[in-house]
Amino acid sequence: MLTYLIRRAVNAVLTLLVVTLVTFGIFFMVPKITGSDPALLYIGKTADAASVEGIRTKLGLADPVIVQYGKFLKGLVAGRDYANGNDVTHCPAPCMGYSFKTDQEVFPLLMGDLPVTLSLALGAAVLWVLIGVSTGVISALRRGSLLDRAVMTGALAGVSLPIYFTGLLALSIFVYWLGWLPNADYTSFFVNPLSWASGLILPWVTLAFLFAATYARLTRANMLETLGEDYIRTARAKGLGERTVIGKHALRSGLTPLVTVFGLDLGALLGGAVLTEAVFNLRGLGYQALTAIRGNDLPVIIGVTLIAAFFIVFINLIVDVLYGFIDPRVRLG
């Protein structure tokens, strides 16, 4: 078990390293290929040649690529100094550089947006797991019934309708027409839990609707498959009641594959629920990413990418570890 954990952890670190290489490569080499100059992007096109040269030295853009990558990595791990003669700027770890647009340090900037995305993703995740899994299980147990067909039709609608449709629909009905809810807005949970929840309920429900639909279909399919397994027949042949057969034997293996999917989905969302944040005008990581991409703000784009990659790799590491506990066959493999 321990070797398994160590192997997974080493794997995760290596994956992150590859991600830094790829993001660094893409975002620093692309300007080279397209002929645009990151120094100009940073300082603005009207600057004089001396200032541009100064900023190029300070950002290390004149160094060989490999040195730049080394400094970039060192910055992430230990922080780095941007220096041009006596003009030294210290960027503490994890240093992701400075926004081209606002000159703010990228990491603290993104950390400021994280609570919004975190609240959005986690709140929605709780909803969609509860709703998706329970309807999926009920559908599987009542296979072919009216309820099953209704749930599956609803789920089909859920997967097919994009966020910007359901989101806007929910907004216009519940906020503008019925006036039951305030417009989506983020208040810190620690300031006022009630307005935190009421401000996020619409984005949660919208996001959860999409995912719950997928989860309901997945759960149903997994449960149906599991219910046809020989070991379920064995459980019944032992004389166990249906409650134990379903609740203990079938759910245990029927829901296990969902852990993987959930890890991927949550990881991806934590890197920014771009569409949802845009529709509800929530200033989270996704919103930040959108702004950065529009403004060609390379350090912010890199920052969001790295944080998103970190969440996906980290949550998948947790999933792998969980699997070791859930499925005894994994431990030996």
Binding site: D230, A237, P328
Partner: protein, 355 residues
């Protein structure tokens, strides 16, 4: 009132005369999108305590469906329709409630399945699965008692270091050990009826013999009735007191094992015996498989279901094609249109020399 006159009374349910397990006119059908699957039609048989009944037939002949019906395992399938009577120790099971049958399942009657790897839950230890089987029928037993019982059973079925293996998972056992553990799980509540559904099919030949010995020993020890389902006639010859031969969901021959083996009556049984490999036969001789393939249970052939594969069909007019043969005879019964004397002659002159 003396005891003598009491013994003369016929009690309700014929307590003294009814066999331990009596299946009467059992019919199982499944409604599917393709049509109605007539899996078992009108099967009747009995098994006494301490006796072994072998059920033989090709895949899809209704062997497993019959045994699952006895255990009431079709109840969870909403498309299954079971009719007829199943009497186990004077209790009728087809009309019994789900809860009554559940209590018998794994207790008074237990089952061993074909593939022990897929029949064991991959996420629970072997020991905990046996403990679960014990505690569901002995709710008052403590965890410790149940654990001791499970380890005891593992030792009984010949698993070395049972206390250590208790905490292992199914995939950590070898095939033979897994089937032993499954047998331990089935026997943990001393069932009086044990159904073994091809218990050795997934195992090595050497292990097969061990498992069969084990089942025979345990049967002798517990005096339970055993139904052995198999397509392996060798297994039946080894273990069974009585044999049912099934074809297309019907019993086509039924009788004591020695009689069925030495004096088989049905052309299909001849075919089964002829397709058995034997050491004492010249290697260059070919096996004589039954030609053709088993019938679809949705669309059974008219008349005798075996007629498309029967070399003797049509010998007596078109009865084979129009009339379903009844299972006739005393201890050794057969469902065949051929007149008994023709059958005897054909067997002695054409079939027996090639067996």
């Amino acid at each position: 009132m003396s005891t003598d006159s009491l013994a003369g009374l016929t009690l309700p349910g014929d307590r003294n005369t009814r066999p331990f397990l009596e299946v009467k006119d059992l019919t199982v059908r499944f409604e599917t999108d393709d049509g109605i699957v007539q899996a078992v039609s009108g099967s009747s048989f009995t098994v006494e305590r301490g006796k072994t009944l072998g059920i033989v037939g090709e895949s899809g002949s209704g062997k497993s469906v019959t045994s699952l019906a006895v255990l009431g395992l079709h109840r969870t399938r909403s498309n299954a329709k079971v009719s007829g009577q199943i009497w186990l120790d004077d209790q009728e099971l087809v009309t019994a409630t789900d809860e009554e049958v559940r209590k018998l399942r794994g207790g008074k009657m237990a089952m061993i399945f074909q593939d022990p790897l897929s029949a064991m839950h991959p996420y629970f230890t072997v020991g905990s699965q046996i403990v679960e089987a014990y505690r569901v029928h002995n709710p008052k037993a403590s965890k410790k008692e149940a654990r001791e019982r499970a380890i005891d059973m593992l030792a009984r079925v010949g698993i070395p270091q049972p206390a250590k293996r208790f905490g292992d998972y199914g995939h950590q056992f070898s095939g033979g050990m897994r089937q032993r553990a499954m047998i331990a799980m089935a026997l943990v509540n001393d069932p009086q009826l044990l159904i073994a559904d091809e218990p050795t099919t997934a195992l090595d030949v050497t292990v097969q013999a061990q498992i069969l010995d084990l089942i025979r020993d345990l049967q002798a020890e517990f005096g339970s009735a055993v139904i052995m389902i198999t397509h392996d006639l060798g297994v039946v010859a080894e273990l069974a007191d009585d044999v049912l031969v099934m074809y297309g969901g019907k019993i086509i021959e039924r009788g004591p094992a020695t009689s069925v083996f030495h004096d088989p009556q049905h052309p299909y049984t001849w075919g089964l015996l002829g397709s058995m490999p034997r050491l004492d036969r010249d290697v260059r001789d070919r096996l004589n498989p039954v030609k053709g393939s088993p019938p679809s249970l949705i669309n059974l052939p008219s008349g005798c279901a075996f007629h498309p594969r029967c070399p003797y069909a049509g010998r007596n007019g078109d009865r084979s094609f129009t009339e379903v043969p009844e299972l006739r005879g005393g201890a050794h019964a057969v469902a065949c249109h051929l007149p008994p004397e023709d059958r005897r002659r054909i067997f002695e002159q054409e079939v027996a020399p090639n067996l």
